[in-house]
Symmetry: C2
Subunit: 434 residues, 2 copies
């Protein structure tokens, strides 16, 4: 259902590698029907290899079809079709992160009821088998945290901003001209797409229902070239990270889950800091395995098709297993999902990068550091730029140790009120990922 970029890729890869796939799976996989509104375009693509229909419901109505692939996207018709396919007893493979991050609870419950699988490896980080790694490969672990670059458009923009010293707007135009960003790039640059993917990883890692509405989402549109440069001087690179963490109290009990997407300073020497251009990478920290990382193309026709087809083969295999022995949709048995709350952002613990544009006067630093100390926020590094000749203002950059975001907000409000702080304070979060 949907024969666009990814659908075309699925068709191409199944055609090209059908022998190789059959040698592995022990059976062929036949794409028997495809739907696309533009029938002529669909016929031009698949020729006689599959029946072409304009109405996706004709696929769901076909009793000979075992598995339906949803590649339409969005919450509208895609949701209706997925629910109808499940109701018709079909297994579903989808790349639709938005749909699952928002309506996953309803969809997975319906699938369980009918004893069918909804597979979604393609929904997170394209061709990287990260869902399989989290649900199966790391099943022995308590996952402690995940941090991922899961949106290629924003990573491309950040790489270019750093390489060329340009501001966000200039690079976005260039990315759009090159096809790395869509005409309406809102979902990418505002962090929504990354938050959909992080929401899915969070649910799978921690055994909680998908709760996109509780994710904190901050994009890269307000990021300035100056902060990228200062971060580099301090040994950090700025990436848009999707972060989810299990937070423990002092007794070691789980008190909440952090779920957040925002530009983040990461030490340059970390592998993930060196993931450039449109590539994706996800770090997963488990208590037994330690830190692992998964890297590859997070989007595009054939990388996404690679994940869709892996799901197809998995379904053909698991079909003969008892339904309750299959890998659960969210990694944990449905009756074992936890009610652990997603923490409000004010309770999140992070370290911070602050940039303050201050009057070049005696005592300015003393007042700023006193405010931080007053909120129990300790300073990790401080950089004061020499003021340019003839200027009476300068930049002060502060890196802090870990603190609760609520305290940091209070400290920032107090510093902002100082007459010697001349512009809105820039605040970015920092993660050591060690």
């Amino acid at each position: 259902m949907g024969l666009g970029t990814v659908g075309g890729g699925v068709f191409d890869v199944l055609q090209r590698n059908q022998e190789e796939i059959k040698r592995r799976a022990g059976r062929g996989i036949e794409l028997s029907m495809v739907s696309r509104r533009n029938l002529a375009a669909a016929r031009a693509k698949v020729g006689d290899a599959a029946v072409v229909v304009a109405d996706a419901r004709a696929i769901i109505a076909n009793p000979d079809i075992d598995i339906v692939i949803e590649l339409i996207g969005g919450y509208g018709i895609a949701k209706a079709l997925v629910m109808e396919a499940i109701a018709a007893g079909k297994h579903v493979v989808t790349a639709n992160k938005a749909l699952l991050a928002v309506h996953g609870t309803e969809i997975f419950a319906a699938a369980r009821e009918k004893g069918v699988v909804v597979a979604f490896e393609a929904a997170v980080a394209g061709g990287i088998p990260i869902i399989k790694a989290l649900r199966e490969g790391l099943t022995a672990n308590r996952i402690e945290w995940i941090a991922g670059i899961v949106n290629g458009t924003t990573n491309f923009i950040l790489s270019e901003m750093r390489d060329k010293g340009l501001d966000f707007d200039a690079v976005l135009k260039q990315a759009q001209a090159l096809g790395y960003a869509e005409t309406d790039p809102t979902f990418d640059i505002e962090g929504t797409d990354a938050a959909h993917k992080t929401t899915l990883m969070s649910a799978i890692a921690f055994g909680i229902p998908v709760q996109f509405e509780r994710a904190y989402v901050e994009g890269i549109t307000r990021l300035q070239a100056a902060d990228i440069t200062y971060a580099e001087q301090l040994g950090y690179r700025i990436k848009l990270l999707g972060i989810t963490k299990r937070r423990l109290n002092e007794a070691g009990a789980v008190v909440g889950i952090e779920l957040r997407v925002h530009p983040t300073l990461i030490p340059m020497k970390r592998l993930i800091a060196n993931v450039e251009g449109a590539m994706n990478a996800v770090m997963v920290h488990g208590d037994a395995v330690g830190t692992t990382l998964y890297y590859g193309k997070g989007a595009g026709s054939e990388p996404t098709a690679s994940a869709v087809i892996a799901d197809l083969v998995d379904i053909t295999r698991l079909q003969t297993a008892l339904p309750n022995q299959r890998v659960p949709h969210l990694a944990f048995q449905p009756d074992e999902l936890a009610a652990t709350p997603i923490m409000p952002m004010a309770q999140v613990v992070s370290s911070y990068y602050l940039r303050l544009q201050v009057a070049d006067q005696t005592g300015v630093l003393a007042r700023i550091t006193a405010i931080l100390a007053g909120h129990d926020i300790s300073i990790d590094a401080l950089l004061q730029r020499e003021s340019a000749e003839g200027e009476s203002q300068t930049d002060v950059i502060i890196l802090t140790h870990d603190t609760v975001e609520g305290k940091m907000n209070q400290a920032i409000a107090q510093m902002q009120a100082l007459p010697t702080v001349l512009a809105p304070i820039v605040r970015l979060r920092k993660e050591e990922l060690s």
Copy 2:
């Protein structure tokens, strides 16, 4: 069977995370018996949690046991026990790469015959779920090549040689003192361990039987600090890579498989060039997915236990599936394995790094470059060190483009015979991994 470092880790992780694992798997996993020659040490470790026996055969003889974990290692008793466990109808989980790389064909055939699984995620790259990624996650792809850092000891030694500018022998002693290298480090430093793992990945990637005896194996013992320094100057880092590639003829037909382990120059900007210390990383290039990379701890008690337990959970799940629907041991259906030959090293295609110690005389370079040209070997970069004051000799470093190793061997023999070439020519292979 075997309660040493890894066995102890399996016990610890199963104890610590049993609730978490049960929430995922839908059932508990109980370690009911453990064997170790030193009964007192075994009892001190497991207490009352499991029956302790000195003879592993008591485990195989127990009709209540479904899955046997072999963590003894080596080809001797471990092979006998694995074959006996299979004969007794037990599934087997093992971390024993040496055993499978050498005797895999026999072992997998016996398992198939009895309808049991031999699972070995822990045999390659420790806690990184690379076997799962290759066998399942990338199943849609024609794998084109794999290149991996799959031995932590040698990667630690190479990282230290570069950081401290030391020669191999000095760093080995230090690594032994720190416990990063064993008292008899031969299997690690001569590349054997990496070749075992690469052999397994090669079989899974290309659908061929395991053929360790055909692998080309060259360790790091002869590597000199000078070559690490020159490589850095040219923008490369030296890593011990396990490489396996599908080689095509001009018509696109597969003519052979390359399977080799040797020190390799890699461009510094590749992520894998920045994998430091005892960490592992594997790059996999598939035709649909492009390049992916998997990174993590390749050894150690709990990382390896993480992989062992993932296999345990997989087996509990697949037990209810029809045996012929399970993931095949070598990714491809057993009757679909190909007879594609492993190519002799002389037919392998690579680019090269050469270091020639030459007399500082007119015409030396002309003779060397003429020999290379005479073998159709084209030069990518050349670096001639200025000879130190009072010295009449200098180093010439040459990077070549791709050529067949046989031709390179002939060219080296001819250059070596020149009276102006004063020492054995250093030859290293180079991979762009793009």
